[in-house]
């Protein structure tokens, strides 16, 4: 059975919103799983979009929901996906806001978090490995399909940028530099 695209977008992003704990890229594993399973984006597109999201205002969650919604269902699609990703937190917080002292001190909440925090780290680790493979082996596991100069350029960018990121260089500068190196090496090597 296929659901109408608007309902599908709403429900998928509702699920993503409901099961994301923690900020930033905690959402990445779920996004990867759901968005790829629906054939809405490829791993490559998601990585490209992370760069777009870092260079534009607003939270990643809203940005990617709006983007996937627009690409698959136009304006109404964007509304459905964004509404979907927002509603779970909205309702949960409305409930929690009434009892938040109790919630904060609840041992059940604290024990659940001792399980969820490491889980999110493991899941993001796995999402990053998937991205690593698409960056370094874009043509799959076939060793003959590796283009040595592309591989080396990617490796160089990753190493240099990782060093810069840990020196607290701003993400937008990282993205700009990576783009410049990508363009320069693209024209020089091809």
């Amino acid at each position: 059975m296929t659901l109408p695209i608007y309902l599908e977008l709403f429900l998928t992003f509702f699920k993503i919103g409901l099961f994301t704990f923690g900020g930033g890229y905690a959402m990445l594993p779920l996004i990867q799983e759901e968005v790829i399973a629906h054939n809405w984006m490829k791993v490559e597109d998601i990585v490209n979009f992370i760069a777009v999201s870092e260079s534009t205002p607003g939270p990643f969650a809203i940005n990617i929901a709006t983007y996937v919604g627009t690409e698959t269902g136009g304006f109404l699609g964007a509304v459905c996906a964004t509404l979907g990703v927002v509603l779970p937190s909205f309702f949960v917080i409305l409930i929690v806001a009434r009892v938040y002292k109790k919630f904060k001190e609840s041992t059940v909440v604290q024990s659940v978090m001792t399980g969820l925090r490491p889980a999110v780290i493991g899941l993001i680790g796995s999402a990053i490995v998937t991205i690593l493979l698409t960056v370094f082996l874009p043509n799959g596991f076939d060793l003959k399909a590796i283009v040595p100069q592309d591989f080396l350029v990617s490796l160089g960018i990753t190493v240099v940028m990782t060093v810069l990121v840990f020196k607290k260089v701003h993400p937008i500068i990282i993205i700009g530099l990576s783009a410049a190196i990508g363009i320069a090496s693209g024209f020089l090597l091809n």
Partner: protein, 186 residues
């Protein structure tokens, strides 16, 4: 009643500003919320901010939405939380709608493709940094390491849905706390 309407309008505008000027989302938003909501409006205290971060981290959904909803509710009830949330979402929504049109126009251009080839490697660096800072904040210990390893392996090498991994680890967290409690009693 009139105050409530006025407050909700201010909430909307304040969070509109927060949504429009925070790059990177989530945690990047906290200092701006502090400045706008604590210092300027005196709606909540610094201590409330710490509570909000703690709650946002242990409830589902993006931190931006969690904190907007929470602060909105504290200032002027359900309508306030609607206004704050709508405000924080709107800028991203508009900007990304426009950007997706632009991206579609340029996605075939060679220069854009080369740029993104480089950018993907740069994003990898950003993600590695994000992972390391999350790891630093996470409580360490054998139990944590086992769950990290297990969820990594399940996600990387099996087809098990991420949601089931999360539910499983939440249950493991409860069971672990019960065991610790029992041991302490004995």
């Amino acid at each position: 009643m009139k105050d409530r309407f006025k407050n909700s309008l201010i909430l909307f505008l304040t969070f509109l500003k927060i949504g429009a000027f925070t790059f990177g989302g989530g945690y990047a938003m906290i200092p701006i919320i502090e400045k706008e909501v604590c210092e300027k409006r005196k709606w909540i205290t610094e201590e409330d901010i710490l509570d909000i971060i703690a709650i946002a981290e242990s409830t589902p959904g993006p931190i931006a939405i969690n904190s907007a909803t929470f602060i909105g509710y504290k200032i002027s009830g359900v309508f306030g939380s609607f206004c704050a949330t709508f405000g924080v979402v709107l800028p991203s929504f508009v900007i990304i709608s426009i950007i997706s049109l632009i991206l579609r126009q340029f996605s075939d251009s060679l220069i854009v493709q080369y740029a993104f080839n480089g950018i993907r490697a740069g994003v990898l660096a950003l993600l590695i940094k994000a992972l390391v800072s999350m790891y630093k904040k996470c409580p360490k210990g054998l139990f944590s390491y086992i769950l990290m390893g297990a969820s990594f392996i399940l996600a990387a090498f099996t087809d098990i849905n991420v949601i089931f991994v999360l539910i499983g680890c939440a249950v493991a967290g409860i069971v672990n706390s019960l065991i610790i409690k029992r041991r302490v009693k004995q």
